[in-house]
């Protein structure tokens, strides 16, 4: 890809990658760092990356950076910072969205990533498998488990009351 294609990728995919990371990580500053790292890697390898696969390349890099980051940092304050961010960002549908994001936080990193990639980005099982280095069946199974877990969280008695 050319420099122009790279800048086009920034224009098209930077928000998506950022959303994917910030929903996963629930920390805006760390999410920015990961996004910058992902795009920096794309810039370095722009000659070997096709323009059509720039988005999946960015999500792949971002996903692995996310995994590395969460494994190394193991932040305790993730929940608090995420709550502060979500409170300011989603004032209108506070109840529904807050509960859903709380439910999302209960998922594992892989499950959460699969949900985010599926719902936000609309990737197929195969594409998610390529990004996360999982098989299609694994993606499907993990994703179904994540859905059921979310549903169970949403229909739990605490959330109903």
């Amino acid at each position: 890809m050319t420099e122009k294609d790279y800048n086009e990728s920034v224009l098209l995919y930077a928000d998506n990658v950022y959303r994917f990371i910030v929903k996963n990580l629930r920390h805006t500053e760390d999410a920015e760092d990961i996004v910058q790292s992902a795009f920096e890697k794309l810039w370095i390898h722009k000659d070997s990356v096709e323009t059509a696969k720039a988005k999946s390349y960015l999500f792949t890099v971002a996903y692995h950076l996310l995994i590395d980051h969460t494994r190394k940092a193991k932040r305790i304050s993730i929940q608090e910072s995420f709550e502060n961010d979500t409170q300011t960002a989603y004032q209108e549908n506070k109840d529904l969205k807050k509960v859903l994001h709380d439910a999302l936080a209960t998922l594992s990193e892989t499950q959460r990533s699969l949900v985010l990639l599926k719902d936000y980005e609309g990737y197929s099982y195969e594409e998610i498998g390529e990004i996360t280095k999982l098989t299609t069946d694994q993606v499907r199974v993990y994703l179904h488990r994540a859905r059921l877990k979310l549903r169970n969280y949403l229909i739990s008695p605490q959330q109903v009351l």
Binding site: A14, D15, Q36, Y120, H144, L148
Partner: protein, 293 residues
Amino acid sequence: MQNISLHNYRDFLLRYIDEELDLRQTEALLAFVALHPEVQQELESLQSTKLDIEIMSCPNKAVLYKNMFPVIVAPETIVYPNKQKLFKKEKEKAPVVLLKWWAVGAAAVFILMVVRFGMLDQKTSSTTSKNSISKNKVLKAFPISNIKNNTTINNSTINNSVANTGSWTATKIVADKNNNTSNDMEYAAAQNIEHQSIPTVSSITTRETAQTTPSYHGDIIDVKPTIIAEITMPSFAGNDETIETYETIDTEAASSNRTVMVGAFEIDKDKFRGLFRKVNAIIKNKENNKNEK
């Protein structure tokens, strides 16, 4: 296509939420859900787990762009510290001078002449100094005496009067007007006196004087004589002879004007005047040719 039943409907529901069913599977599932209201509730609960698309903007997206605005970066200048050592200077070739055969010949002749005349000059100077020394010896042997030469110089006397310095004694030569002198200068002086028609010239006295301080060139004492002619005229009244000096010939000054010192050699300018003129003419011709070009 796998049939949808109460045992496998959940998988179809999840795939329906993930939008992984094709059109026929979707129609079959919706038909199955319509037949089973409990499945409808479960479908709604699973649909609530689906995240609504949120529009989020990356806060520092501008940082991610590369070279969107041309930035002129000053080229990095790295200066090699020992550059002076790398410079090379080509050795200047000696200018080629084309010598013509006649120029070489002229130069050789000139050098030979200089050497020859220089050697002659040295010989003459050595002989004169030897003569001077011999004269001195003679004069020392005969401190006061009159030397008469009957054949060439009549009534000529050489009076040796010791000079004040004592290094050289002056010699007085007295000659009659009709007599020839062995010395050319004396003869010329005598002839000059004759042409002046001096009626009664009793005697012409030439006197050789020497430098009061003779110069020394190694072992040879160089004494350069000066010949002074004195004409003695008798008085018509029969009184005592009075000596009148008419002319003084200073050979020292004349020889110094004629000679040029080239290194250790003394060269007579008159002998090389023609050669100098030729050399000057050649140089002028070359300059004219250059100016014309």
